[in-house]
Symmetry: D3
Subunit: 227 residues, 6 copies
């Protein structure tokens, strides 16, 4: 959050197998498995529907209207990373377009999550390079002021440390702290395991009221039925 003008080259990434496995569970299940924390705000939307990814975070702190540090962070990307870009202030300028996406993709990045704007979204969609952003904007940026790379950042309300795991899909973006990634994968997998059975019951017409035994607590809370 606080150190400007620095690039941390050595970060400790979450275990790759764990980071990779979280994608299939999706943002909502992972968020629940973490105890309902770690989400970015709902203003973060994918530029195209259907992408579902996970990966290890490399972070970058941008200045408003300035995308210089996106070129700096490119060098720190390793295959399997997701770039998480925060900004020192609210700004929707188009920090990122098809050229940077080409570079990020060449370095092995799986996605960009940016609390700002992006452009060239048609090309990005054709390239299958997914981006979650708060805006789409043609607005160009300058390269004049330093931010930082691989420091902890607050991106769309979520704290992200470099090396944490990012899980993103049509529902949104969640950050799993590196040290909790394995436990979260376990918990999320267990949640998922129960869902099939529940879905079958509900599809057959069984009510959640009965399946989850809610009638008694609802009654205790004072719920009254009126005919």
């Amino acid at each position: 959050m606080y150190e400007l003008g620095v690039v941390y080259r050595n970060i400790q990434r979450a275990d790759a197998k764990v980071a990779d496995a979280l994608a299939a569970l999706g943002a909502s299940t992972v968020h629940e498995a973490m105890g309902r924390v770690g989400l970015m705000k709902t203003c973060m939307r994918p530029i195209y529907a259907g992408a579902q990814v996970s990966g290890t975070a490399v972070t970058v702190l941008l200045q408003p209207g300035d995308n210089w540090m996106l070129h700096v962070v490119a060098e720190q990307i390793r295959p399997g990373d997701i770039v998480v870009a925060a900004c020192t202030t609210d700004n929707t300028d188009g920090f990122f377009g098809d050229l940077l996406a080409t570079s990020f993709q060449a370095r092995g990045a799986r996605a960009l999550v940016i609390d700002g704007g992006v452009r060239d979204v048609k090309v990005l969609t054709e390239m299958k390079f997914p981006v979650w952003s708060r805006a789409i904007s043609s607005k160009g940026t300058v390269k004049a002021t330093l931010g930082s790379v691989n420091i902890p950042v607050v991106c769309a309300g979520a704290l992200v440390h470099p090396g944490d795991v990012i899980v993103a899909d049509d529902d949104g973006v969640v950050c799993v702290p590196r040290e909790r990634a394995a436990a979260t994968l376990d918990a999320a997998t267990k949640r998922e395991a129960n869902e099939g059975e529940k879905r079958a019951k509900l599809a057959s017409g069984v009510l959640g009221l009965d399946m989850y035994s809610m009638r008694e607590p609802l009654s205790k809370a004072g719920l009254r039925y009126i005919d």
Copy 2:
């Protein structure tokens, strides 16, 4: 609006034939036919494009961050209903996901209209269960506080009584009071009937200025043409 902790089991639904027939006319035409009232705010967006539905409202009032009452309302759904969920305060949490959708669909619900957030949108899209909401969010909810079912609610700025007809499509969501449903269907059908002829004229190059005889009132209002 005002009674918490109650579930009305017997509501008077609008005539099913009328409720069903309104879908084909669409939200904009129905809204016009009602005299340009009854619309929900434009923040209510479909989770996928192309759905166009109508049905009778069962209503539910939620508390922020709490989806307990969605399980309660499930039991009150009859085939042909649309669930309309309001909240006692602005809240974008993900109150509704694929499990509840499975249950709602099994009960015969045609759609959900919710002044809040939803999740699992990819699965909901595959299930063809349409939702109109103000947000998409992974944020999980608790089951701790009572709201009500089948009381009048204000949802996204529109007053909805249980049994009213909801019409929703890509243009938005409109509520037709039960007692006005038949008259609205008539009026909307008449509006629609004229549209084909108008469209043909306009497509041939005839101007609205002439087709609607606007030149004289415009001139009276003081419109000046400058060459």
Copy 3:
């Protein structure tokens, strides 16, 4: 901006060849070629993805909740025009639908850019009539109060004179002043010409840091690398 109740019939349009050629370059490149000015705000979104157009602006100033002047502007459309609709106040009502679109298309309009709402978006999509708007809304409008046609307007934060060139795609909407259109086309074409080579380099793994010779200025600005 300031004259109400007038329609300018004779406007000087940008050169048609220039206006037509700008579409292929897209909003972001054209905006950069103009020196990073001329953009509309990011609230302006296309009603469907993939449209990319350019054309000469005919402008109209609307009153809130009133679409009378859209019928007036229809008569002033010539093939190759794009209608740019501003409003005297923030208003998201559905000023425009499929009938007006039929008329506009019959007159040769390529698109509508409106700082307000539109409706019948499913039909507009089927008609392939692209609209950039700040909202989608069923809300109907009246025909009671005069605005103006072909005066300079501020639309979503951008000043547009009649005859200027509008370029719009998935990234947004940019206005190119008529007198700068040719120079902008040149500059944008040159920008585009370099992009292929840059993209190839970046795709091969060359970093922007090296391709743009950023390492020295970054170091001078004080960037420190920490292992």
Copy 4:
């Protein structure tokens, strides 16, 4: 909500003594006494700090950019009333200024609550005519389109019937249905009665944890203290 072009002259107002007595309790206490419902959205702010009023609602439904019906509602005001103005769409125009305030005040109105904009706020402040609105705006309006007077309206998310009681202060605006006004006054008065004692305890350093016996339920819910 649904009937346009009508003015209901005879409405049943809540008991004047009850309506008057609610002011002293304030919006927050009254809202709690009603079971935490009935609030308008937080965008409704007073034009000056310190006003605290209650009164019986006369309602008006406006069209965007059009204040004609405010002149119509003026005639329906009786001493002790508060005018509640809704609009068929989101609109922040300056529907109301010092002339209408002079008229309203002369008719005995105590305040205006408007889901729109107001102007002449300096003069209104000098006149001590309080207004709660979602915006302050110089934007002038026309007098061209009918709304209605004394129909039920949704104002800033709250349903208001003519004759209901409005309570407004620096915390916001709450609507108490006429038929619940007396019971709400009782409940609110009781709430208030306990507050002095609670305040004294808390001021002496007693914790809410102990005063409300929260330690056991917190522990049961799983709260852990870590030294």
Copy 5:
């Protein structure tokens, strides 16, 4: 709007007497006198209540997060001017504080109108230097990128040419084009002249319905009274 990196030193200011005289009429009356156009958006709020000013515009176009050009514009200020600052993108950073205010005041500026953020608002209030802005923010800015001075700008939705007259008070900010300033002063003065008489009538209980002869047009429009 379109030229960056230039400072126009010689601008034609509106007549000083006219510019000065408009303050007393206030933003709302002046806006009406211009035909209900020329207003900035309602997000522009004064940092303290009660200021009411008018003056000739010197304009500046800023880059996001960069206040370099505010130092450049300071030199162009003459006594009686109001600085109007626009930005190439939405940005709420604190571009302006007490040091710049000291400089602007020393040069004779009467106020700042800025489509961005300001800081040191307590000191600015003590200095009696009024500012209308869209935000208050401590966020510091850099001095790295050129904008322009005394070009036409769009500020909070209003087009402002250098030399135009700005009128600002608690109701908002309006821009009067230089060439229309004298006529607007006349029209506004006439409006104001009638207000005293109207106010006296309304205060005596005469209704606007009668004073403005609205009963007949309302009836023609279809208004029905129901007892």
Copy 6:
């Protein structure tokens, strides 16, 4: 951010003398002294003008619509603390009112900073208990779901660790990490020391252009003056 249901009783607070001394410098100067980072978003506004405080943070993470943890955090307050309340989702409910303020004040708290709503603002103002919040709302809350106390939180976009220093005034709220508090005080004091001299120069008519030697860099950047 991530641990729910825990209360850390022993936190390391920043040095009290340093924490106390930062108030006089104000949020804007402290923010600059930290290198232009650490600010909360501009939606955080004081409930009354003129308060200027600093103190050590005790933090609390709330659930939407639930203020249970505010009672838990009260016990952890020591004289000189400022309570910083974050929420797991965007929520503007009135979590805090005069009773909790009485308790907080009795425990020695200097202020509350809350990414949510507050109520009883008139009484809070009379009590001289300053609050910075994103909303004012009467909406009541429940006591049903656990959050945490004295874990790191993201409040209005800023990361706050328990024991950090909070500085808040009319300009906004800034968080100074505990380990950087002394250095920030030094840097801020130095900034402040230069301001008097600068202010005197600017008041005498010296331009920032000359005082900061900007003419040459502006010229190098390409600024052109046109007569």
